[in-house]
């Protein structure tokens, strides 16, 4: 079979491939040896980097399960001599870090934000993609434009608004303003643009209107995109810090991140409690991460601007 000689699909702007000779140089044994050496080097490098990337997780567990004396000892021990699981019960009994309440707040916020974002953004994305309306384009660009204004720049004015609504230190104040994600709407719109029309047409023949078509045909056939957006929104909501710091001012309204930050930056620090608290705080995410990794990767890929 003749091999293709030209370079297909080369974009106009890309630099041309140089062709040193009409026929390639013969492979020398030296090349093979170098390729093999390169492969071995790459394996070693990757293994070293992987270890380096895992060190912080190891420290989290090591310090979280050690006694205070062992953490602050000048002689480094790689593992605590006895694993103190009592640190965990101390965390929930001791009043220093209000962990139980903070975990509850974070869970409520992350779940509500995820569900709310999925419903609102997917409906909007579907409407923009599939319901022909004269000004749909303008509406879409008005939504898209807010992506240019990073949420972090609007935190001062948003705080002003939320405080004048009397929502400071309430779950409402922590959840509602974060529900309208232009990013999620954009992802859904792009996805629904490519949704097979035949499925909708079949529903229409059966006499279903836009609303019932959406819930009975479109949503059940779009689970992957919901999973992808949902996991990304969940992780973002669980880990977000600036907004909960600004709005959740009372102790009762602290999220896990705010509670941890308060004690990281405070005067007296009980390291073993803080580290086990941090370990507990990332546990739900590690579970989400391990079970949903496929969807997260899909979601991250979708978030790439280039498609």
């Amino acid at each position: 079979m003749p091999r293709p000689r030209t370079t297909p699909a080369r974009r106009p702007g890309a630099p041309a491939l140089r062709r040193p000779r009409a026929a390639g140089p013969p492979r020398r044994p030296l090349d093979d040896a170098m390729v093999r050496a390169g492969r071995a080097l790459r394996a070693v490098l990757l293994a070293a980097l992987a270890l380096l990337f895992l060190i912080p997780f190891y420290l989290l567990l090591r310090n979280g399960l050690a006694s205070e004396d062992e953490i602050t000892s000048p002689d480094w021990t790689f593992f605590p001599s006895t694993l103190r699981l009592s640190n965990l019960s101390e965390l929930f009994e001791g009043p220093t870090v209000p962990m139980a309440n903070a975990l509850l707040n974070s869970t409520l916020i992350a779940v509500a934000t995820t569900l709310g974002t999925l419903v609102l953004a997917s409906l909007a994305g579907y409407g923009l993609a599939r319901i022909p309306y004269r000004h749909a384009g303008k509406v879409f660009y008005a939504i898209l434009a807010t992506m240019m204004v990073p949420a972090a720049v609007t935190f001062v004015p948003s705080f002003v608004l939320v405080s004048s609504l009397g929502w400071v230190s309430t779950l409402r104040g922590l959840i509602v303003p974060t529900l309208f994600s232009a990013f999620a709407c954009f992802v859904f719109r792009q996805y629904f643009l490519g949704f097979p029309r035949e499925l909708e047409d079949a529903a229409r023949v059966d006499g279903l209107g836009h609303w019932r078509t959406y819930w009975r045909v479109v949503v059940p056939n779009s689970r992957p995109v919901f999973a992808a957006v949902g996991t990304i929104v969940f992780i973002g909501a669980w880990n977000s810090f600036l907004w909960p710091l600004v709005i959740g001012q009372d102790r009762e309204a602290w999220t896990v991140q705010v509670a941890l930050a308060t004690f990281t930056t405070s005067q007296v620090i009980r390291l073993h409690e803080l580290f086990i608290a941090a370990a507990v705080s990332i546990l739900p995410l590690l579970v989400v991460f391990l079970f949903f990794q496929r969807w997260i990767v899909a979601g991250v890929e979708r978030s790439g601007i280039d498609d």
Partner: protein, 300 residues
Amino acid sequence: MLGAQNRTLWFWVFVGPFALGLALFTYVPLAWSVYLSFFDAHNTVSPDDFVGFGNYTAMLRNDAFTDSLVTFAVFSAFIVPTTFALSLALALMVNRLRRAQAFFRSVFFLPAACSYVVAALIWKLSIFNGVRFGLANTVLGWFGADQTAWLSTTDPPWYWLVIVTVRLWLQAGFYMILFLAGLQRISPVLYEAAAVDGARPGWQVLRHITLPQLRATSVAVALLLVINAFQAFDEFYNLLSDSGGYPPYARPPLVYLYYTALGQEQNLGLGSAGAVILALIIAVVTVGQATWFGLGRKED
């Protein structure tokens, strides 16, 4: 026509709730903020003391504010190239793996599940703890080095090492995923053609095929890195502030704004002026960068 009316109605049933919320929580605050920025608004959101551009000139003349812009510039000069290089290198290496590809991808991506708060906690209190039991000081101690107070040393400014490595660790895997997606979109035919043309595997192929084909992804990654660096707050706040407040150095724009608008003074007028200036800067940078790279040009 009934059909068109019907469509309009349904369009707004679907899009309305979202659009309304977005307007209320993005456009209204923005407009309000622009309004407030022209007033002397201490501790109030309905001021009556009009000061014109006073807040803007005060902000631009304020050394602390301009210093925060310099801090952002220094920070992005460190974090953008290092993250870009590391995530691209990881993607190239992981992509070529025949075995354990999923494992390595997971390991490098796992830090993305961590919050900046938790990462900063580990960095501040364990790895770069200034006392003897900090991991960095322990390891350096084995080689006979003295202890370093990583976060409070300003000469040399070791705190940059701490700040940059947190973010590098946390986000490299995320951008690696973007690069991996880009790599998998490159047609294998190109590599076959290159081999036929005599391009040596390795540098030549990377330089003339892989990198040009990754152009769109590279532009997106660079853009995201700059925008995210501009919004940096979490790790700065958690690494550097303590019960005594925030040190006078390494204040990025958002940290500065946080203390101005929501700190002791609650100077919302000044804070709003700062937010408007930052919004303008980020808009100019984004549009500039996008035009420069020709964003939106389709791959095929």
